[in-house]
């Protein structure tokens, strides 16, 4: 039985709220003055520490090596052929359904990829992509990886559909990489 709230059967139903001390009086004035000074000290300390802002367009937050940014398609370094064979497994793995692959048959005299098959069309709709990286996991030839680039804003949606040529192009690496221990 709760004496304060007799209509409540169980004392546990009472939730006590922590209240600040009553204002006013000499104590209150002293407290107000003291707290104000404490506040002033706090802000002054921030002033002395100096700004922590990263001046974004000029300087960038370094990303972790496994950061999942814009995709990259890769070529074999020795032959220059595309690693992608257009198997569409990335499209199957994609939960956002943003990858479209249309495969075609390689011309033995003018190869695009090493196997019989290559991706004639490889499009990623980055307006839809959720950067989960499943495509990278699904790829049996390590042909697609998630890069570090995250500056993908554009003026219209159509420009966010990245074609194979755009994904294959050596990206201008503008994103600093986070160093060990940073």
């Amino acid at each position: 039985m709760n004496e304060e709230f007799p209509y409540l059967k169980d004392a546990e139903e009472v939730v006590t709220v922590q209240r600040g001390p009553e204002p006013g009086g000499a104590k209150g004035a002293y407290r107000a003055f003291g707290e104000t000074l404490r506040g002033l000290r706090t802000t002054m300390a921030r002033l002395i520490e100096g700004p922590m802002t990263i001046q974004y367009p000029e300087e960038k937050t370094p990303v972790y090596p496994r950061f999942r940014g814009r995709h990259k398609l890769h070529r074999f370094e020795d032959t220059g052929l595309e690693k992608c064979v257009g198997c569409s497994l990335c499209a199957a793995a994609c939960p956002a359904d943003c990858i479209r692959v249309v495969a075609a048959e390689n011309d033995p005299d003018d190869r695009v990829s090493p196997g019989e098959r290559y991706a004639a069309v490889y499009e990623i709709n980055l307006a839809r992509c959720i950067f989960c990286g499943y495509c990278e996991v699904a790829c049996p030839f390590d042909a697609i990886t998630m890069g570090h680039e995250y500056e993908l804003a554009d003026y219209n949606r159509g420009d966010l559909i990245f074609t194979k040529e755009m994904l294959l192009a050596e990206p201008v690496e503008r994103t600093p990489l986070r160093r060990e221990g940073e």
Binding site: G24, G39, L40, T42, T43, M44, R46, L47, P51, T53
Partner: protein
Amino acid sequence: MITPVAEVGYAEATWILIAKSIVIFLGVFLIVPVLTVVERKLIGRFQHRYGPNRVGPVGMMQPLADILKLVGKQVFRPDAAVPLLYAIGPALVIFSGITTIAILPFGDVKDGVGFYGIDVSIGVLYFFAFGSLAFYGLLLSGWSSGSKYSFLGAMRSAAQLISYEVSMGLALLGAVMMAGSLSLVSIVEAQGEIWYVVPQFVGFLIFMIAGFAETNRAPFDLPEADAELVQGYQTEYGGSRFASFLLAEYLEMFVVSGIAAAFFLGGWMGPGPGWLDPIWMVTKIMALIFVFIWIRATLPRLRYDQLMSLGWKVLLPLATLNILVTAVLVVVT
């Protein structure tokens, strides 16, 4: 021989007076824009940020951009507004700010020129008289805008100004009593031995707190209260008229800091040769403005009832007590 508009301790030739006023006027008008950007940058620093740093070197051209933008805006007036009063409001506010600058002393008389606008014998009263005119400006613009938010803001600032003006006057009274003069030049000169901030520390504090309220600055920016009243009495203003309000706010801050510096921090006095005097004065003013900004960066806005109870229940009794003690001490010594 000229006839001064008021009883003055010292008066120069008319052309010097005109030249002086132009210099002071221009100086202040150059300082105010700098103040705006300095405030924004300082608040940024207080919050781990940079503040404006995009326009011009280290962002110092920001006020120019702001002013250009504001001036370039369409001049408009709400349908419900009272045209003439609506236009007079901001002018009145600026007028009161500028006129009070006239009595700020930046030095004593050197080579026959007083380093101040005018040294009236009623100094403090002059300050209160013209300073209070600003209140009419606010009230007029709030009322004449024909908007409930403006009006609410105006009413708040009326109540606030009245509440705090009393404490403010009483706070200064201590210093006046000690100096035995109302003239600011005399009061500064009276601080030759010790700055009044020491004997009149309570008065200084009360003056500063009341000064925050007087200039509508945080934590007493209730009339503007951008979150609640959408800028209060300024709601319906835009473009250059809005800029006038902004200018007036910084002017007042400058004036209040100037008065405080003159009354409590020894005005222009400082080590070094005599030509450093104006620099000392400006430095003190700037230091006080820094405090203004610091407080703004630190304290949240008071609730209206807290504002009132602080004014009437704490500051007023304290100020009265301060005068009593000062009076007794003055008589005893």
